[in-house]
Symmetry: C2
Subunit: 335 residues, 2 copies
Amino acid sequence: MDAGNDVRGNFEVKDGACEPPRKIAKLDISGDNEADKESEVSPRCTFEGFKIDKVLNDNPQNKILFLQGRFDGSENKAVVLLEKTPFCTDNANHLLCKDTNLKETLQNDIYHTYDVYPDPKLNALKATVIYPATDKHVQKYIAQDVHLVEETAEDYEKITLPYLNQSQFSVQWVYNILEKKKESERILYEDCDPETGFILIPDMKWDLKDTSRLYLSAIVQHRALKSLRDLGPEHLPLLKNILMSGQKAIQDKYGVPPSKLRIYFHYQPSYYHLHVHFTHVKLEAPGSGVERAHLLTDVINNIKLLPDYYKLKPLMFTVKENDPLYNRFKEAGKL
Amino acid sequence: MDAGNDVRGNFEVKDGACEPPRKIAKLDISGDNEADKESEVSPRCTFEGFKIDKVLNDNPQNKILFLQGRFDGSENKAVVLLEKTPFCTDNANHLLCKDTNLKETLQNDIYHTYDVYPDPKLNALKATVIYPATDKHVQKYIAQDVHLVEETAEDYEKITLPYLNQSQFSVQWVYNILEKKKESERILYEDCDPETGFILIPDMKWDLKDTSRLYLSAIVQHRALKSLRDLGPEHLPLLKNILMSGQKAIQDKYGVPPSKLRIYFHYQPSYYHLHVHFTHVKLEAPGSGVERAHLLTDVINNIKLLPDYYKLKPLMFTVKENDPLYNRFKEAGKL
């Protein structure tokens, strides 16, 4: 479910949802590189001489291709994301007109399919070029085999938790938000209570305009909660507060009612400081699939039904083969 | 999560996963309609004179547009699905070459974006035309507001169950499969035990070739089980049998190991005869989102933890505004 088409952020666990990546090199792509001392290479507005070294990934569902290559004469890597663009509904009548060429490919009963060749001006692709690209950029886009793993309560104690404790992922960027050192101007809602409080802040993936693509995160004030696994009946006031206050803040600010919100945790999360995703139910958000997402209302109801639910329940999660956790589970004979 | 881009099937609840639609009219789209008496109109291979009456829906994520219109001089409705096509990785070097025109749209640090105008021959769209189309075809593609509903155990007894009993949806097509009257040649695995048996059969959405898009359904022999809500500890042998035997049959036939399978129920299901979806974890299948899917392993583990789990647990589900169940919940003040 991870579409992998989120260009910025998430290069490291600590980059998580909100922090933009560091600058790597200043670059001039205007064609004249007199002015800029830091730029090593200046790709002109052309792919002439571009060499594709590798197809990193291909997403046929979203029609996106991820390539690694080099511009002519340069040793630096470039990552190119090539994507088909959404239709502009206002232009539809220009696409279905006499100047559009059709080639029939199938006819069966009332169903007909065609290859359609419209005016090229109406059919641009979008390219995103990351240049120069580091190995981390390349790694981010490489197609990885994904496995579904069943983590029992014992697996969590013996495999996952020791791994998390050893890895000591930094969540300083989260503390910067909670302490209002960063991004304070973006905060939608804040509750400072150390036990039940949280900050609600738009995710970088959302443009803040199209409410059908709404995406915010609630980050809890409590610093000892890593994930779902830590939750018990003592956290019901926190969870209910996130649900009710988060819904209300979004309804008040964006006019989106609670019945149109998908509100969920990830397991495994991308960073281990408890947070909740709020997305519009229409948005097919990466990570909203059943193999990773856990609805906040389900979490509340599960704890009400069985207080130790998240201490006892085997949890399924997906893991990429290049994730160290994959090797930990494999070494333990769990894969 | 319902992408709505599945052209055939599912026009009625009973059409569910496997049965193709009935013929509505035989149609000749070759341009000469001398031969075919049943055809009322013959669209030529052109959109000349085509009038768009309505944009039914727009899926910007998958780049698909759903239109309703009429061919010149005809009163019959046509439904047109216009979609951007996946990239052909073999052609990537022809897309990134000197003949491709670029227009820069953004430059920030190492990130550059462009509008890309490639050779039109390499950039065809795909059109699917349903013509003549019935109101049911049109209805199927109209964008519907979707709501997330919390169904308590009491709501199930008082709202959902009476609605299901009154509606008496036909699942004859399912019985045709179980009785081998239809589609018997497509069966991958069969266990005839009336309590613990099931039939595993490819879903019509899968082409049977690309295993990364694998999609099969397990349909239980037991005829009294409608959905998750009916499951209790007495069904653990059935559920475990579906899990183990389904995984093994798929591994044996298609070489896809259990860790690459997403195995889940829908709630609400599209037809009320218990069935389980088996999809490749890479496939972003419609209905695999957390708001509709329930992993089979989770169902087994929940019943083990709490035998009455599915009798007690509030279940979230999504409902479209044109679904009669939406009105039932609304009338009950639950929305």
